[in-house]
């Protein structure tokens, strides 16, 4: 039991160390442009991706670095992508908000709110004809629940019993605006009933809970039972984007968030279970080491070649 939790801890630390390194690289100018970190939300991709099969398709958002990493995309080409290197997963063309690594079952981030949901339906639909047994997962935020495309996708998947899991990362904010002010009830899982599909509001800061529900939803999906909505309740420790002044935070909010965040919680749980602190801390050290190496390797790679900039517009 503590082995799996240590593995989760490592997986979460990989993501957090990656994101913190990204923040540093952005500060020093090696990364430019808008970047959305998932610090505080790591348990969701870690728990969810563990339940996926290689043939499954995953569609994330601009806040998707953690999803790419949890899905098994090597971090060096992710760093390279952020730094505009030829060796980036998209050869530098995607950037932070548009990672794509289909060969790892990661079918892309997306920076249009809600757009990935219908696309995931299509990936699931394809699976009905190609014998792959594929399920599709689409990830989006609480705010995206108010976007028309997400609604259309949920009904489409439900009506046609498509094997799709809709993962809503409810971190309480859409950019700088609290979701609670934009909906009558911010218990968003309840919306699943509108489409006749199951919806669960779960602890998104607990990788184990996410894993359980994801497995369950995928089982339903693969058996022909259609889609499920998983509302994963979480909080982001970082701002909406790097540079966000976070003036919208209420007094005491950040303290509360830090107490509840998944890595701290898991660490405390492991300590309580008698896992030695040194063993736990070694996980962080290991993750940071890997990440440092990857970032250095990526930084040393050549920039994308402007001579190729017009390639691949058409077949």
């Amino acid at each position: 039991m503590s082995e799996r939790r240590l593995a989760d801890l490592l997986a979460m630390w990989r993501i957090r160390a990656f994101e913190e390194k990204v923040r540093d690289l952005r500060a020093e100018g090696s990364i430019v442009g808008s970047v959305h970190l998932c610090i505080g939300q790591e348990a969701i991709p870690v728990g969810a991706c563990d339940a996926l099969e290689p043939e499954d398709a995953l569609f994330a958002t601009y806040r998707g670095h953690g999803w790419a990493i949890a899905r098994g995309v090597p971090v060096t080409p992710l760093f390279a992508e952020l730094m505009g290197r030829a060796t980036g997963v998209n050869g530098g063309r995607g950037g932070s908000a548009y990672f794509t690594a289909a060969d790892h079952g990661f079918h892309g981030e997306n920076s249009i709110v809600g757009a990935g949901a219908p696309i995931a339906c299509g990936a699931a639909l394809a699976g009905r004809f190609d014998g792959s047994g594929r399920a599709a997962v689409t990830v989006f935020g609480d705010g995206a629940m108010n976007q028309g495309a997400v609604h259309e996708a949920m009904n489409f998947a439900a009506a046609f019993d498509l094997p799709v899991v809709f993962v809503c990362e409810n971190n309480g904010y859409s950019e700088l605006t609290p979701i609670a002010d934009m909906v009558r009830s911010d218990r968003l899982a309840g919306r699943a009933a509108a489409y006749g599909m199951p919806g669960h509001r779960i602890d998104g800061n607990d990788a184990e809970a996410v894993r359980f529900h994801m497995r369950d939803a995928l089982e339903v999906a693969r058996e022909g039972g259609g889609p499920t909505l998983l509302e994963c309740v979480t909080e982001r420790i970082a701002g909406h984007y790097i540079g966000d002044a976070e003036t919208y935070r209420r007094p005491g909010e950040m303290d509360r968030i830090r107490r509840r965040e998944p890595i701290t919680r898991l660490r405390e749980g492991l300590l309580a279970d008698g896992v030695p602190a040194a063993e736990i801390d070694a996980v962080e050290t290991r993750a940071r080491g890997e990440i440092d190496t990857a970032a250095r390797t990526a930084l040393a790679a050549p920039l994308a070649d402007p001579a190729t900039v017009k390639e691949h517009l058409y077949a």
């Binding site: 398709a57 569609f59 998209n90 050869g91 530098g92 063309r93 995607g94 548009y98 794509t100 289909a102 060969d103 079918h107 892309g108 997306n110 249009i112 757009a115 949901a117 219908p118 696309i119 995931a120 339906c121 299509g122 990936a123 699931a124 639909l125 394809a126 699976g127 009905r128 004809f129 190609d130 594929r134 599709a136 028309g148 495309a149 259309e152 996708a153 009904n155 489409f156 009506a159 046609f160 390639e311 691949h312 517009l313 058409y314 077949a315």
Partner: protein, 335 residues
Amino acid sequence: MPEMSGTGEVRKLSYGEAVNAALHRLMEELPETLVYGEDVGEPGGVFGVTRGLRKQYGDRAFDTPISESAILGSAVGAAMMGRRPIVEIMWADFSLVALDQIVNQAANVRYVSNGRLAAPLTIRTQQGGAPGACAQHSQCLEALFLHVPGLRVCMPSTPQDAYDLLVTAVHSDDPVLVVENRMLYFGAKEEVRVGGAAGPMGGARVRRSGTDATVVTWGAITARVLEAAESLAGEGVDVEVLETPWLNPFDTEAVTAGAARTGRLAVVHEANVTGGFGAEVVARVTESGVPLSAPPLRVGTPDTRMPAAPVLAEALVPDAARIARELRALVRGAS
């Protein structure tokens, strides 16, 4: 017995039937194809164009909710996974509720993934004016799509092109928008060669040769342009009519060569003038430095919304008489 040949068979088909024949063929020869959209399955389409597919191919042809974002978005996703979805947007006007999936999604997949992913979907739609049609069911929107790099666009006006271009579109590894026209669906039957190999994209059709001016056109209005050209011929004004059913890729060379030959250029389209693709054609030809003996001419619908009353709409959309008048002035000099 239909005439058979090495490159297929000749059948008498209307434009709508030609689309239907292409769809049947594509479902037959490409098992990756799917055909779906609102009312396209069981009912066979509101214009009957997808008739028989559901019966013949079962789950591969189906009806959808009225959810254009889901239709287009799912086509992008299915295409990424190796399917070749052929989806229908019933009227081009309706694409505006879901343009994101075409512009920000489909058109980006290949380029942004650096060629590692592709989205070979085909979007069939139809557009244009029809007697009594309202402002929200009349627009010619090709120019919007032609400003989107990464998206192929064609607009057949004959049964043969309706067949051929759709076959080419679905065989293409790129997202392609095929813009049909509901006024053409039920037109006269013509001989259509079906079953040949999928052709390449692009190219222009010399619908009429002539020496006094090169008139570039596309879509349903091509028939009116030809009518105008014929009537002008009786007056000794002899214009070349070049139809460009492929708009992306666009056969700039053929158009420029035509203009160079005749020394005069006109572009006629049903879309409203400002920001229409006619501007692009004029720009390409004039940029090329081809000497013209008269300023280039654009003929299109004036920049208004589209009224429903036929008497009003007819006052806007260019008819053969107006086209002839403008071409005459181009060739003879303004009167």
